[in-house]
């Protein structure tokens, strides 16, 4: 019997990432946010999610991937963390994929910096490699990263 897991996938540039669907609260369109001065720049701002104030983290900045071009679109992937919901800003959203646990591999050693810390594993999919994000880690100790 194979154990399968569902992942919500999204893109940062060409790279495909995945978050376990159980951790995703919702995906919402980009919306205006309020910037928070003096905080590390990975925190893009605060959004109003139906009365709840949610911090939006720029996942590109978090993973130290080059900045997106000005005016490029973004999508909020709201994930559940122990500290409450956090929105991860990604470039675009992909499908929900079901993968066999057996396709999982440890992250390649070639990964560097923050990527190495935050990628829990890699799944080989037909359309390419899907990097599994450790959301809990991606949303914590932000003061070490960014500005």
């Amino acid at each position: 019997m194979t154990i399968t897991q569902q992942f919500c996938t999204f893109f940062l540039g060409e790279q495909l990432f995945g978050i376990q669907v159980e951790q995703v609260q919702e995906v919402i369109q980009y919306q205006d946010m309020t910037r928070v001065p003096l905080v590390p720049e990975v925190i893009r701002g605060l959004i109003n999610l139906r009365g709840q104030i949610v911090m939006a983290v720029d996942l590109r900045r978090r993973l130290q991937i080059e900045e997106r071009t000005a005016g490029a679109s973004m999508v909020n992937v709201v994930v559940r963390t122990q500290e409450g919901p956090v929105s991860l800003l990604v470039d675009s959203i992909g499908d929900v994929v079901e993968v066999d646990e057996k396709t999982a591999e440890a992250p390649p050693h070639t990964l560097e910096g923050e990527m190495r810390m935050l990628i829990a594993g890699v799944h080989k999919l037909d359309q390419g490699l899907m990097h599994v994000l450790n959301t809990e880690k991606a949303c914590e100790s932000l003061e070490r990263t960014g500005a």
């Binding site: 946010m33 309020t34 001065p37 003096l38 905080v39 893009r44 605060l46 003061e143």
Partner: protein
Amino acid sequence: MSDLEIVKEFLVESYENLDRLDRDLIALEKDPSNREILASVFRTIHTIKGTSGFLAFNKLESVTHVGESLLARLRDGLLTLTSEITTALLSMVDAVRQMLGNIDKTGGEGERNDQELIATLTRLLQPKAEPSPVPTTTKQKKRHHDLPQPAPTAAEAPIQQSAPQESEVSPSVPPPAAADLQHAGEPLAEKGASKPPEGTDGNVQQQARGQSASDSTIRVDVSQLDKLMNRMGELVLLRNQIVQFTSSSEDSGLLATSQRLNLITTELQEGVMKTRMQPIGNIWTKFPRTVRDVALGCGKQVRIEMEGKETELDKTIIEAIKDPLTHIVRNSVDHGIESPEARTAAGKNPEGLLLLRAFHEGGQVNIEITDDGAGLNSERIRNKAVQKGLITADQSARMTEREITNLIWLPGLATAEKVTNVSGRGVGMDVVKTNIEKIGGTVDVQSKAGQGSTVRMKIPLTLAIIPALIVSTAGDRYAIPQVSLLELVRLEGEQARKGIEMVRGAPVYRLRGRLLPLVYLNRELKVDGKAPDGASSAAASAYSGEAENANIVVLRADDHQFGLVVDEINDTEEIVVKPLGKQLKIINIYAGATIMGDGKVALILDVLGLAQRANVLGEMRDREATEKAGKQSLGVADANQSNAMLLFQYGESGRMAIDLDLVARLEEFPRDAIEVAGNQEAVQYRGQIMPLVRVSDVLECKRNMAPGSGQEALHVVVYADSGRSVGLVVDRILDIVEESFVIQQETGRRGVLGSAVIQKRVTDILDVPGLIASAHPVQEPTEVLT
């Protein structure tokens, strides 16, 4: 009702009863003959004992049983209440409370040995004097009927059956009872446990009784109220949005409806807030006990008085101030109030007084804890603070008495030289201050040697929904809690450019003669005109480099004032405070966030954090200290002598001061603006001709009419007296000081009143009329009169 529910019900009821017990016992100690209180105490213990019996909490039952026996004696007048008995009974209450706590947590009473307590109680059962012969059971029954409320006979009956101890039912046979009681716990417990059906009957009865006594109230889970409050917050936000949308509408029906919604939401909000309000008396009730214990522990006599018990505060705030208050109360008794001997020696009542006061003032609750003790020993605080390196000796010399006493809030300053069991509990005064400030309150201490000290707290009524001023800077909106707000100042055009001056590189504004340090919000937040992500460019363009006008929000932080310069002052609004995530708490200048009427998020500024970040508090402290020290060191008794003086320089090194009240404005004129009218220099100023007097020329008796002796502008002090203006040309404006000084008369120099020591330097005091007269012996009053 399941067993668990019964236990829970029992716990809730017992906790309430215990609180009352503490109160009653203290009251009883003061008035041992008060049968009513005694009966109330007896009933409370009796109820706990009875219920614990059928719920099979054996240890609990055995402890309360002995206590009950003791109380029965007291009630029947076989014993009189002594301090020793009260202490024993109070420790019984503590034991019961602990056991209840264990039951609450683990479901069992926990491993404990109360033999000692039981033995003490039993020993006290033995009357010291010969008990007067008391008729037997008939009298006992009669007593029951004598009680103000009929004893719960139905509830009591099964318990009496299960515990047929003579001591309880007929207290008329004391000697054998004492021996019996040693073993009272065990048989009683077994029997109690084996009789659940009867016990349950009793419980039902008691519940029925409880309900009839409190028909008008219901008990609500706090989490339920918290949820309600959250929803209420949402509703307030929605209301704000609706009102904002409809305000531009022309549909009168819609407008009326939205106004009605506005009104009802406000009322509903008040109502919901009210459900969370609790009288402060709720936490004060345990203070008589605290005071008694502490006073007894250190051999003092202290009476506690309370005023304003009914003053209401939000539950979360009540919880937050409970520990700080307790700490201060304990401290006051332990360190504030002197021993009876010392008090008598000082001519005071040997019994010290601790007064708790609470009252509403300005949308806040003030709480004062006053003792009539020795007051704080400022010398000791001063020495300790210097010794611990918290302040320098130099600083300490310049501090006022009040500033010294308020040093007790600094961390690391434990003033208690004698460490007692009361102090050293890990809660220092700094923790008190931190906790009070965390909820937006302030705390302050005043002390008078020999007469006592007062700790004053100012606490907000609620935390969830607060009035706030909305400001914007660099296109973003920020909320400033109204409690910190003092006033708003708007400087327009010329005022904005001239009104803001620099003192040693720091911007200040002169607010009614006092220098107000300024903090630019945009610089402090390091935000420029660049629009934030997605913000409308219109908002960003409103911010265009140096603003034409300056909006100063005068704020109070920690008893000091500073001005926050913002781009725009929008409005005041009721905002719902939402906490920020842990990641954002690392920056202490945000107190939270809120959602505005348009659905966008706005950050709430933490005024104290902002002031600390901008470093305006320290400066102000230094400054005020200097000013105060100046007054003191000069030893001028008359405080009215301390005028604000403007210091300026004339010639190469002359220092001169002029009374600030005589100064209308400070102006700068380009040199080519000087015209000569008659034999006199003058400038056009506000549609008039203002004659100029060169101070250095007059005083140094030179006559230098050459206007072009330098490129920089002329510094002019505009002197105004009964409608006429004269411009005094000085070489440099030095400072504005507020100091007391003694003018030493000096004759011989025209235009000089005398000299004084200001800022530790000899300074001449300007005599303006004399100066003007000497500069222009022939006055042409028509020229300068308005």
